[in-house]
């Protein structure tokens, strides 16, 4: 594993933390890596000393959850702590959330659910259509051996293979579209209501 790959994996493991903190942690390890390299250590030795990205992330996340202070100050960034954002009165927030839910989220969610259902149905339909391919191939072989004509047999064999290929490709495409539409919808809803990445 190279240091770039190690950092990429660490970033992945630190995903629940705020972006500026992840960036601060990466800066910290960048500095450590360069200092160790300047001291004469090779890349493998440095990464062995760092430990796996999972271990590092666990220690850092553990400190975040169990640390004595809850206030976050990134050591490795020069960002000053932003003043707390003034919260709107409760009634205003409830009204805003109700309006948002009734007139935007519910209609939008209905569209998304319909789209996911349509893509899902297409995936199932294409998967089912794949079965027509082998049936056509079997029929082609049957015609060939029962004197049904070479032309018809070849047409059935070719058609069967084409159906398998096209339907498999379509089923995969629809499956991917369904999966990512569902994930994106979930993340969007979490972001809207929780104000953070899902």
């Amino acid at each position: 594993m190279t240091f770039i790959q190690w950092k990429k994996e660490l970033k992945k493991q630190l995903r629940p933390l705020p972006k500026n903190e992840v960036s601060a942690i990466i800066d910290y390890y960048d500095e450590m890596y360069t200092d160790k390299a300047e001291a004469g250590l090779c890349a493998d030795e440095i990464l062995a000393e760092f430990g796996t990205p999972i271990e590092c992330a666990e220690k850092i996340r553990g400190e975040n959850e169990n640390g004595s202070d809850n206030s976050y100050t990134a050591v490795y960034t020069d960002e000053k702590k932003a003043p707390p954002h003034p919260r709107s009165p409760l009634a205003v927030r409830i009204t805003a959330y109700t309006f948002l839910t009734l007139f935007i989220i519910i209609p939008f969610a209905a569209v998304l659910v319909s789209a996911i259902a349509a893509f899902g149905a297409s995936t199932i339909a294409c998967s089912a259509l794949i079965l027509i391919g082998p049936a056509a191939i079997i029929m082609g072989i049957f015609y060939l051996f029962t004197g049904g004509g070479i032309g018809a047999s070849l047409a059935l064999l070719g058609g069967g293979i084409a159906v398998i290929g096209i339907c498999t490709a379509l089923a995969i495409c629809f499956y991917i579209i369904t999966k990512y539409t569902a994930i994106a919808s979930y993340k969007l809803l979490v972001y809207i209501y929780m104000g953070k990445r899902g």
Partner: protein, 111 residues
């Protein structure tokens, strides 16, 4: 060593490492390594916590064409070291008590 005890001890060790002069991450680890086990992923949260407490301040300075973060102890950090030294006598007494009690129990069981 107990995790909480070690956490507190490491904080004071880090403060001691920068007590005489400001220092940076790699040097802090190198200075402390002969005395106590400390890794990069242990040091980072300690520095973060000490800065949040106001026990250290940081500045970035250029080194070999890149920026390096330096940590400097504050009066609050120095106070924490002094408090720790003061409590050492108490620790020592408690340690002697624990050792003595354990020894007595073992001797009673043997006889």
């Amino acid at each position: 060593m107990d995790a909480q005890l070690k956490k507190g001890l490491l904080e004071v060790c880090v403060l001691s490492a920068i007590d005489e002069a400001e220092s940076y991450g790699y040097k802090i680890i190198s200075d402390l390594a002969p005395y106590i086990e400390i890794s990069e992923s242990t040091l980072y949260p300690i520095l973060r916590r000490l800065e949040a407490l106001g026990a250290v301040t940081t500045r970035s300075a250029e080194h070999n064409g890149r920026l390096r973060k330096y940590f400097k102890i504050t009066s609050m950090g120095e106070k924490k070291i002094e408090e720790f030294i003061e409590s050492m006598a108490e620790f020592k007494k408690a340690g002697e008590y624990i050792t003595k009690r354990k020894r007595n129990i073992t001797e009673d069981m043997d006889s």
